[in-house]
Amino acid sequence: MAPHDLRRPFKRAAISDQQKRRELSLLRQAQNRRNAQHQARCLASSILSLQSSAPESEPEQSDIEIETVPETEHESEAFSKDPDVRRASTLRGPEARKWFAKQLMLPEWMIDVPDRLSQDWYVLARPAGKRCFVVSSNGTTVSRQRNGSILHYFPSALPAGAKTRDGSGSAQSYCILDCIFHESDQTYYVIDTVCWNGYSLYDCTAEFRFYWLNSKLEESGACNAPSHYHKFRFSAVPVYNCDQSGLYAAYTGAVPYVKDGLLFYNKHAHYQTGNTPLVLVWKDENCSQYVIDTDGKGEIPSQQQLVLELQDDRKLVTSDDPPVLFGCLDGDIIEKSGIQSGNLLRFAIGDGGLSFVDGKLEKADLVYLGKSNRARVFADSYSKVIFQFMVRHSPLKMDDLLASINSPDDQEKIPSDIEMVG
């Protein structure tokens, strides 16, 4: 029985870096597992927590329910016309992603300048980052990305966003904000408001939603620096009337975030889920790092690539409603590669390019590349393909936008022309 060793660690940190690496790995794995489970269980639970937290506010509840009804176009049997929230809970994987994608309003790409840009539209510089829904209710705030995975679970100064000592997180209230999480300054930039403190803003015009957002967000304290009851800062994105100075400000003005293009909102448009031409996105090298699409490796392919959906009759179409026809696939290819209708396929645009007649797509020189990445849920939209095509050949430039604003006479003339004819 030798004397017992009683040496203690001397001048050593209590935890080794290797242990730290192990623990961080485990943390990441647990988080990813939770996300995978959540995708499987779907957003239904978040909808539920809203319902249960807002039992007295029937109108809002029905608003949400309407939004959760899966749209029924070009979808598998997994969807039915049955407007039942609970259907959503049965969705997994790609179906879940489709469903979540449909909860957000998605801009079309600007391929020509809309009329009355300076009168009817707002412009804002879009922050680069993760697009997500931020939902505050019952004393907590959850942000969910387009694919349904939870980005953060945190207390916030949004109404009902934290359990505070004064009990301000009243059970009836909740918020749904459309945000972009900007990684480097850990800030949620609010680009739209869907519900505020129990009031549904779905059916309000963009004009009203932005007014509401600007007045309420600041007042709530959500723009304050992070604190114990407020984990992340929120910030409203400056919104300008799309006149010359507004457009210039959005395009060149200094903002605390990295820009990824400009967003144009039609002032009269309601918040509409899915693709809409009433919100447009436009970008060039001066206001975005990612103008031309890159491939999986992050490189710009020599030829433009696009993803189309194969229909029963071998037709290749976009994700638009109604879909836009881009061509037909050779029966040969279908046979050889064992693809089926409903598959998303990747093509390159060959040297023949795209041909237009009267502004309508007439012919596309498509070169088949293979099936698309399985994470894809939708084919590309028409406007995206055309925007990318234009970027490579004859981009829509800032000058063109400014020019359209600077010729108000033209726009005034249109009605008067009609008058003259009449």
Binding site: M1, L6, K11, D17, R28, A40, R86, S89, S184
Partner: protein, 868 residues
């Protein structure tokens, strides 16, 4: 066989003779175990045999009863139990007889073997007369036999657990031991054996320590023994006090003043081994009070926990000056000697524990010492003052410490550059690290690092990285905590302007000729990792630039061929550091879309290198490389499939590495990462993976901590491959079911309950993954037969009332998944379960939002399952 000659040969200097002898012993053992053991015990007991062969015979006997390896140990125990009864009693009586041998080596070998036999037999209620026969005539024994008997009792108490020996026998043992210790015992060897035996017997004395009179007596004898003229007895007596301090903390109040006087005298006057134990007594009291106070702070539930007696708080006016004195007794080169442990080090460590125990109260007791000594010409005084300062930085409040630190910081920075003594510089750099560790970061309101001094601090630290290895290592450590404090600083970090220079300096350190001394290279890479972890968007491009550099370094480690074993070890160590560094970078750059894109251009190259790292280790996979591959799979997504054909064999190797169970655990985690990355593309590898996982579960060689992650991994696989999991369903479910039965009931200490909860969580994650994987598949009905058991499991753990929040969330989630996947098939079963009512309601009103969310999901799924 002439065993004496064989045993002599087995100790021959001539290798061939030795091997020959060992071989024939082995054969003998395999052919006739009882005969072999009898011959050995005969040799041990025989007074005519040479002492070397008696000793060796005893040693081989001992090794035939016990082994380090758990599996082998179980085998040996079984073999002994099945041995012929006559042979056993003959061996045992030989052993007991040897205890009174005049040859001390024979006695002490025999006493160890007796304890081993007792360790096997007493739990099986065999050899019940042992204690009695050992003690029957202990008073009449000659001193040398008495000593051997006491030594045997000591080993015995070390070998068996307290519940095996009844209180009556415990009383007898303690009586004999205490008599052997008492001053009336004239023989010093007997006193020493008795004191050492008491150390092991303390765990048996619960009842005796609850009896005031017996406790008083035990304590008096121990305290008297600390005054023995023999240094070994004094040391052993203080060891007893240390053990008592943690085992019987709550009984110490009446004695603490006396113990203080005894320890103070020992610390000041006694020889170092004794003084070290005396300091350790107070360190151990600190450990106890820190634990108790932590529990107070955590959750004041009013349970019948041990109360805090605040011994340290009461003792500090005298204790702290005593500890400060020890700080001045440094050894010249203790910082270069990894194994050093002396009174100054022990005293400083204890001072740090005291600071953590009493907080602010220690500050006024230490500050005068610092002020008096920090500028003295004698390096010992400057070092002691600095060490004292560094020691009290954890515990007291920032409000109390920051004013001191603000004054001291400039002084420290100057000392680190200018002090002529390396020991002082070492402690100064360490103290700076402690300052940054505890008083710098987003949690502290008043920053101690400002725009005004940041540049100077970094310049000094980078400069010190060129100092001797031990000083440079501490400087790296300080930089580590400096970077850590800026982890949550937001987009623009004060470190940005220095980032490049810091990275460069750290890389330079890793290339120092002497970088292997004082674990300098490890410290440099760890700091590099932390700097990379704390990088921001501004510095991401610089982290990206680091990637090809580390790739090249790793590539270089793969160049050398025909390495000696020492070089191989060096190479493995360096590869570990580089893979660890890549892991951190992959995780960092992979977490943001913009950097991930650029980073991915290196993925092929990095994966290629990891595979080569595995290949050059041939037998085992490298934990660090495995962790890094997990991070890479996560960043790569489905494209990771292209690496699988080559990587798979190393994955298998990792899953089979029972010895380094951390590697096995990490590999299991990586399987999960790969499942999520590949989804159904994992199918071709599932047969192999599932086989290994199932095998691992059924092995009793694998460390238990790996089992819960294996269950979670079942869930990951099922979720990835969906109904394809059918192949494994029966096997997986049966493994889950038996684990579930085991983990429903918990009885044991906190550690066991914690383990059981981890196990439950793994099982529940498996069930969730399986249900979710089969959802919407035509094969759902395959799961129906398992539903009753799963619901029973949920009810069982609910009723047990000892699950933690993580398990609660997972359990209620499984209820939802079950209802959701099986729907009306399980409706009536669900309605009968307790889980669907009380448990669900409890979760619905939980404070924990994650639990609440899962519960709401479950409620919805159940409503539907029942209504259809």
């Amino acid at each position: 066989m002439e065993v004496t000659q064989v045993l002599l040969n087995a100790q021959s200097i001539d290798g061939a003779v030795r091997n020959n002898a060992e071989e024939s012993l082995k054969q003998f053992q395999e052919q006739n175990l009882p005969g072999f053991l009898l011959v050995l015990s005969g040799e041990l007991v025989n007074e005519e045999k040479p002492v070397e062969t008696r000793k060796l015979a005893g040693l081989i006997l001992k090794n035939a009863l016990d082994a380090k390896d758990q599996q082998r140990k179980v085998e040996l125990v079984q073999r002994w139990l099945l041995l012929d009864g006559n042979a056993k009693s003959q061996i045992k009586s030989g052993l007991l007889k040897t205890l009174s041998s005049p040859v001390s080596d024979a006695r002490s070998t025999a006493s160890q073997v007796v304890a081993k036999v007792a360790g096997i037999e007493l739990p099986h209620k065999q050899w019940p007369e042992l204690v009695v026969s050992l003690l029957s005539n202990v008073h009449q024994l000659p001193a040398h036999a008495k000593q051997a008997t006491l030594e045997t009792l000591g080993y015995l108490c070390e070998e068996v657990s307290p519940d095996v020996i009844d209180q009556d026998q415990v009383n007898k043992i303690l009586t004999a031991v205490v008599q052997g210790m008492s001053a009336s015992e004239g023989n010093i060897d007997v006193r020493l054996a008795a004191t050492r035996a008491l150390y092991n017997a303390l765990g048996f004395a619960q009842a005796n320590f609850s009896n005031d009179m017996e406790r008083d007596y035990l304590m008096r004898v121990v305290c008297e023994a600390t005054q023995s003229p023999d240094v070994r007895v004094r040391q052993a007596a203080f060891e007893c006090l240390v053990s008592i301090s943690s085992t019987y903390y709550e009984k110490l109040a009446p004695y603490i003043q006396d113990i203080f006087n005894i320890t103070a005298k020992a610390v000041r006057e006694d020889e170092e081994p004794v003084a070290l134990q005396a300091v350790e007594f107070w360190s151990s009291i600190c450990d106890e009070e820190i634990d108790i106070l932590e529990e107070y702070g955590g959750d004041f539930t009013g349970d019948s926990n041990i109360p805090c007696f605040y011994f340290i708080k009461q003792a500090i006016p005298a204790l702290v000056p005593m500890l400060l004195e020890t700080l001045l007794k440094q050894e010249e080169d203790q910082d270069q000697d990894e194994g050093a442990w002396n009174i100054a080090m022990a005293g400083g460590t204890c001072l740090g524990l005291v600071a953590r125990t009493v907080g602010d109260d220690i500050v006024p007791l230490v500050v005068p010492f610092i002020e008096e000594n920090i500028t003295k010409p004698d390096w010992r005084q400057r070092e002691a003052a600095t060490y004292a300062f560094g020691s009290i930085l954890e515990g007291p409040s920032p409000e109390k410490l920051i004013p001191l630190v603000n004054v001291a910081l400039t002084f420290m920075l100057t000392a680190l550059t200018k002090d002529p003594n390396s020991h002082v510089k070492d402690t100064t750099a360490w103290t700076l690290g402690r300052i940054f560790e505890f008083l710098h970061g987003s949690a502290v309101d008043t920053p101690i690092i400002t725009q005004a001094n940041c540049q100077q601090i970094i310049t000094v630290l980078l400069h010190s990285m060129k100092d001797t290895p031990n000083v440079a290592e501490k400087a790296c450590g300080a930089l580590y905590f400096l970077a850590q404090g800026y982890e949550e600083v937001g987009p623009s970090s004060p470190l940005t302007p220095f980032f490049q220079e810091i990275v460069q300096s750290l890389l330079t350190v890793t290339h120092r000729e002497d970088a292997r001394e004082s674990r300098l290279r490890t410290a440099a890479y760890e700091t590099l990792n932390e700097v990379a972890r704390c990088s921001t968007e501004e510095t991401a491009p610089l982290v990206l630039q680091l990637v090809p550099v580390i790739i090249m370094e790793l590539h270089n480690t793969l160049e050398g061929q025909k390495l000696s074993s020492d070089e191989k070890e060096k190479q493995g160590e360096l590869q570990g550091l580089l893979c660890g560094c890549l892991q951190v970078i992959i995780q960092k750059l992979g977490s943001s879309e913009s950097t991930k894109h650029v980073f991915m251009q290196y993925a092929d190259q990095i994966m290629g290198l990891f595979l080569k790292v595995f290949a050059c280790r041939s037998a085992t996979v490298h934990e660090e490389a495995m962790l890094a591959i997990g991070a890479l799979a996560y960043a790569t997504g489905p494209d990771f499939a292209k690496y699988m054909p080559e990587f798979y064999r190393y994955l298998e190797m990792g899953l089979q590495n029972f010895e380094e169970y951390q590697v096995c655990a990490v590999t299991v985690g990586v399987v999960g990462d790969i499942c999520r990355a590949l989804e159904e593309k994992i199918v071709p590898y599932c047969d192999g993976i599932m086989t290994h996982l199932l095998k691992n579960l059924s092995s009793n060689q694998l460390h238990r901590s790996v089992k819960p992650p294996i269950f979670s991994c079942f869930g990951d696989i099922a979720l990835a491959v969906g109904e394809y999991f059918e192949k494994y369903l029966m096997w997986a479910m049966s493994a889950l079911q038996s684990a579930a039965e085991l983990s429903t009931h918990t009885a044991g200490d906190d550690e066991l309950i914690e383990y059981i909860n981890t196990l439950r969580n793994g099982i529940l994650e498996a069930y969730s993954g399986i249900f979710q994987g089969f959802k919407n598949s035509p094969k759902t009905q395959l799961l129906i037969p398992y539903a009753p058991h799963i619901l029973q499991f949920l009810d069982g753990i609910y009723m047990e009332k000892d699950m933690d929040d993580v398990v609660m969330k997972a359990a209620i989630g499984v209820l939802g998944d079950l209802a959701d996947t099986l729907g009306s098939h399980a409706g009536s079963l669900i309605q009968q379960s307790v889980s669907s009512k009380d448990f669900l309601n409890e979760c619905l009103s939980s404070e924990d939002l994650m639990i609440k969310e899962s519960a709401e999901w479950a409620k919805l799924a159940i409503t539907r399952a029942i209504s259809v």
